[in-house]
Structure formats: C-alpha cells, structure tokens
C-alpha cells in the first residue's frame, strides 16, 4: 500500500516535470470524456423534458388514434360522446382533436405554429386553463365561431407581449378573434405547449379540410381502471371497424415506455461515438508512454540496479499512465459539467449532468490509462539493467 502511495507521488512528480507534454497527452481523454458527459447530458435532458410533458398529461389520459384510411364507416365524435355518457362512472370527459401546422398573421408579423381544434371538454381532459379571457364554449363549436386561444409564446412573438384579447389575427388567411390566453406551462419556449393556438374543432375541420376526426383524448376518473377502459374502448371500436389495425387505443404509460427505449438506444449510440475519441486518446497515451520509456531508460536502469523488481517498474508506469488519464477524466467531467450548465442557462438546450455517468466516465478514463499503459509499462519492466544503465 505504501508502495502505491509512493508510486503515485512519483507519478505526479514526473507529470509535473513535463507539463506541456502531460497536458497534450491528456487532451485526448479530456475531449473524449467531455464529449461523453455533454452528449449524455443532452440526451438525458431532452428525454426528461419530453417525459415531463407526457407525465403532465397524467396516467388518467387515454388516447384514440384512428389510422384506417379506407374504411367506409368511421366513428364520430357524437358516437364516442354517447359511449362516454354510458360509462360515466369511468369516463370523465372526452375531447376530439384535429391538429395541423398553420401560419398566424397579425399586422405584418407572421408566426408558424401548431393549431389544435377541439371542444370545451379539452380544458378538463388535458388540464389546460386560460390565464385571461375564456376557453372555447360549446356554442363556439356548434356555430363554428372563428375564435382562437393563444399560448404565451405566441403572445410574446406575434403580439410583442401586448394583450391579444379582442385582436383579429389571420390563421392560414382566415380572420379569427382572440378570446383567451392559455396558462404558461413550459417557460414560454418555442415549440412547447406554450406555442400553440386552439380553435373550435368544427372550425379546424373546415380550415384543414378534414371531415374525419382522427384523434380523441379521454380522461378517466381512476388511473387504476386504465386497462379496463382501454379494453372496452377497443371492443367498441372493433365493432365499428372490424379491423384492429384501423385504430389505436393507448395511454401515456405505454408512450413513455416506447420513448424511453428509443432514447436509451440513442444515448448509447451517441456515447459510443464519443467513446471512439477515448480510444484515440488512449492510443495517444500509449504512444507518449513508449517515448517516455525510451527517454527514461537510464532511470529504469538505475532503479533496477538499486533493487527495483520488474513488478515495481510495471506498477510505477501503470500508475503514471492512469494518473494522467484519471486527471484528464476529471478535467473532462468538469468541462462537460460547465458545458451543460451554460447550455441550460442560455436556453440552447435542456441538458442534465448525470452523476452515475460522471463516475462511469472517470472509471473508464482510469481503465484507459491501465489498458494503454500496460504495453509500455511491461516494456519498461523488461529492460535489461546493464543496457539501460549504458543508455545515453
């Protein structure tokens, strides 16, 4: 143990005696670890922001997605509404949704955003509220009123922060009156829940020339009944379509599972790419270590003459290599941490510093030192002391 402490001290000395070279040697590991930490942080950050949005929907949400194109008979909102009323003990509310990309125009300002056409029940189902003005009323849907609710990002971007209520805007060329502003949900970021416009579903159908409503969101009273409700919804839709591929019934839990497996694969792939730079860094270390062994041939000879065994020399060089890479790893982790912080602060992307990954990265950097230091160290330990002492 004492020997390790001494070899460690010796390693620090020889690293400090050639600072520039030690730094250049470390650079490969620094960049590699930096990349791993930043990439993993980004991947985990974006996963978390999507996951959070999904989780905000709650476990009480079931979605129906009509995928069939050629069926002669489609389920209507009225039928589902009726079905929901029959199962009022389970189903709290049901809201149809029609969504599309649209261009908003106010004065000379334009803004591209997501349009959602729905009914008054959407407020209950998706837990969406207004911070000022009013939500869509049943009368708006029945009489196809061209009224719109906008998110806070749109207020900021299209109206330059002015109160938009009562203002006329053009959606894909048609004039709408803004009647409400939605509550802020995602820090008023672009392409978030705060960047959308909500209109009555009947108006949206005309605007998008879609006679068929393909999406329905259902809020159930008890999250534990999710499976049972999905089952009888499936049975109900089967009776209409006679084809299980024509529609999909799913809840957020299933969506989260799919998302997690996708992002996990993605994270591993990105980390794998970053790991290539670690291997390159490792080869750099092997190269420098070999040079160092040659340069220090005489030192090795001296050590052997005064009683160092092969093992002592081997351990000394292995520790030197892993001190270099371990230190590089720490620097890389710090740089990764700073990068993540800066990106989050400047709102470039949501990134999370992951402590397990930092520990893993540090372990990997130590392992690189040992693996790539092994060959040069064993070469050093095998030197013949007589020839090593004669080396100039």
């Amino acid at each position: 143990m004492a020997q390790f402490a001494l070899a460690f001290k010796m390693a620090i000395k020889s690293i400090l005696s050639n600072k520039l070279r030690s730094f250049l040697t470390m650079l490969g590991v620094i960049i590699g670890i930096w990349a791993v930490i930043a990439v993993v942080g980004l991947a985990q950050g974006s996963t978390k922001s999507i996951t959070d949005r999904l989780q905000r929907l709650g476990t009480n949400l079931i979605q129906i997605n009509i995928t069939g194109r050629n069926s002669n008979r489609n389920v209507t909102y009225e039928e589902l509404q009726q079905f929901a009323e029959q199962h009022a003990e389970d189903i709290e509310a049901i809201a149809p949704t029609v969504s599309s990309s649209v261009t908003l125009k106010y004065g000379t300002n334009t803004h591209d955003t997501t349009l959602i056409g729905t009914t008054a029940d959407y407020s209950t189902v998706r837990d969406v509220n207004v911070s000022s003005g009013r939500f869509i009323l049943p009368i708006d849907v029945d009489y196809r009123q061209k009224v719109a609710l906008v998110g806070t990002y749109i207020v900021k971007d299209l109206f330059n922060g002015q109160n938009p209520i009562g203002k006329k805007i053009k959606i894909n060329g048609q004039i709408f009156t803004v009647v409400g502003v939605l509550e802020e949900r995602a820090n008023s970021q672009q392409q978030s829940d705060d960047d959308q416009v909500i209109v009555p579903v009947t108006v949206a159908q005309r605007l998008t020339r879609n006679a068929i409503i393909r999406n329905f969101a259902i809020k159930i009273t008890d999250g534990n009944r999710s499976e049972a409700v999905m089952n009888y919804l499936n049975d109900f839709l089967m009776k209409i379509y006679n084809d299980s591929t024509a529609f999909r019934v799913f809840n957020t839990a299933q969506l989260l599972d799919t998302l997690n497996s996708v992002t996990q694969t993605l994270t591993l792939m990105l980390a794998g790419i970053a790991a290539i730079s670690l291997i390159v860094g490792g080869i750099g270390i092997m190269n420098i270590m070999l040079v160092s062994v040659t340069e220090r041939t005489r030192e090795i000879g001296i050590r052997k003459a005064i009683g160092a065994k092969r093992r002592n020399i081997l351990i000394q060089f292995l520790i030197e290599a892993s001190v270099v890479t371990g230190f590089g790893g720490v620097v890389g982790i710090i740089l990764g941490f700073v990068t993540i912080r800066v990106m989050s602060k400047l709102n470039i992307a949501t990134a999370i510093f992951s402590i397990p990954w930092a520990i893993l990265a540090f372990t990997i950097s130590l392992a690189i030192g040992i693996v790539f230091g092994l060959f040069p160290a064993s070469k050093a330990s095998r030197l013949n002391p007589i020839e090593a002492l004669r080396y100039e």
């Binding site: 000879g301 001296i302 050590r303 005064i306 002391p385 002492l389």
Partner: protein, 226 residues
C-alpha cells in the same frame, strides 16, 4: 565475502564466441579495499556486472556472503542488489526528478522500509558522506559533481550492504573533488566497509589495499599494496 570460482562469460557475436571473462577466480574478504584495474575491453566491466549481480556468468560459481547467486532469476537478483550491493557509478546516476534525500531513500523504498525509518537512515547516510544538511532537498542538477557523487555514495550505503561497488567513481570529477571522494572511500573502509573499486587509473588504484589487474578476461596480477 565474494568468492568467484572459474567464471566464464561468453558472448555470441554471430559465428564467433567472445570470451569476456575467461576463467576468473577471485576472493574478496570482508573489510577489504580492492581495486580491479584494467584497460577498456579487458573484461573488468563484465566482471563488475557479475559481482554486482546485474548479470549472471555463462559458467562458474559465484558465492556472495555465503549464498550462491550465479543461477538466480531476475527478481532474486534484484533483491540481492537491493540488500547486498551498493553501487557507485562514474556518472552518478541519480534520478533527476528526485531530491538528494529522496534519491538516497529509493533503495529503502524498494526494500519496503517504513517512511519514518527511511528518513532517519537516509539522513544518517548523507551525514556520513559529509553532504551539507541544507543541500538535502536539492535536485541533482542543483548540486556540483562532487556533491552528486556524495549523494550516490550515501545511496549505496543506506541499506548497509556488505559490499560497495564503485565503477570509476572519480572519472567525471575534477582532481579536488576526486580526492575528496577517494577520502570518503578510505574513511568508509576504516569504518569496516568492504569496497570494490573498478578503474583504469593506476593512481586511483594505488590508494586501495589490494590491486587485481585484469586483461583479456583473465586476472594477470593480484597483489597487496604496501
């Protein structure tokens, strides 16, 4: 005590066999001060490597301190060098990154001596060779040649080995420092250390108590100095 019986060291140079040592018999008793003298190429370096356990003979028997060491493996030889031999080289061979004190401690580190004992022994050894106390924490390049050689002698002494093996110890020094170093060896001899000095310089050799002359791998003269 060093006992060499019928030592041969043969190098193969392509087709030819070169006899670096050609049947050497030599006995060096404890507390002796012996100079091994010979021109370059005489085989004295090979003899020194074998006596110093850096190399093993092709044939023959080497008994050091009562143990046969001619057939030991690498690790065993390293242990012998650590505990039984103290080397002093012509070019000092100190490790440049370490301070004088750390250089002297190094053999004790490989021996596994605990830190407190190590510091004490190393300081004592430096005091014996007369290195000024304040130079202890200097690096070799901050010391003069004579001072470096003193550090090297302290390093050879620190494990209290039965034999100190000095290879041209004054070869890189001016005559004043050389005389100082030779005086240290004489003092060490008076204190009871066994010293084997390898040199090509007759004037240096004359300061030992016995001269062993070697040529073409054979001992040609072995005489006491009056």
């Amino acid at each position: 005590m060093i006992e060499l019986y019928d030592i041969y060291k043969i190098y193969k140079m392509g087709e030819n066999e070169v006899y670096a040592l050609n049947g050497v018999n030599l006995k060096i008793n404890p507390h002796e001060f012996v100079a091994i003298v010979g021109p370059s190429g005489s085989g004295k370096s090979t003899l020194m490597n074998i006596i110093g356990c850096l190399d093993t003979p092709t044939s023959g028997t080497y008994i050091l301190d009562g143990h046969e060491v001619s057939r030991l493996n690498d690790n065993q030889l390293a242990e012998i060098r650590n505990s039984k031999i103290g080397f002093v080289f012509q070019n000092f061979n100190l490790i440049p990154q370490l301070t004088a004190l750390e250089n002297v401690e190094l053999p004790l580190i490989y021996k596994g001596v605990p830190a407190s004992v190590r510091h004490k022994l190393a300081k004592e050894a430096l005091a014996r060779v007369g290195l000024e106390h304040h130079r202890m924490h200097h690096r070799p390049r901050e010391l003069s040649g004579g001072q470096q050689q003193k550090v090297a002698i302290a390093r050879a002494l620190v494990t209290s080995p039965p034999i100190i093996l000095a290879d041209e110890p004054t070869g890189n020094l001016d005559s004043k420092s050389g005389a100082e170093i030779m005086q240290i060896f004489k003092d060490l001899h008076t204190q009871g250390n066994t010293i084997v000095l390898i040199t090509h310089d007759n004037n240096i050799a004359m300061q030992a108590k016995r001269i062993v002359r070697i040529q073409d791998g054979q001992i040609i003269e072995n005489k006491e100095v009056s």
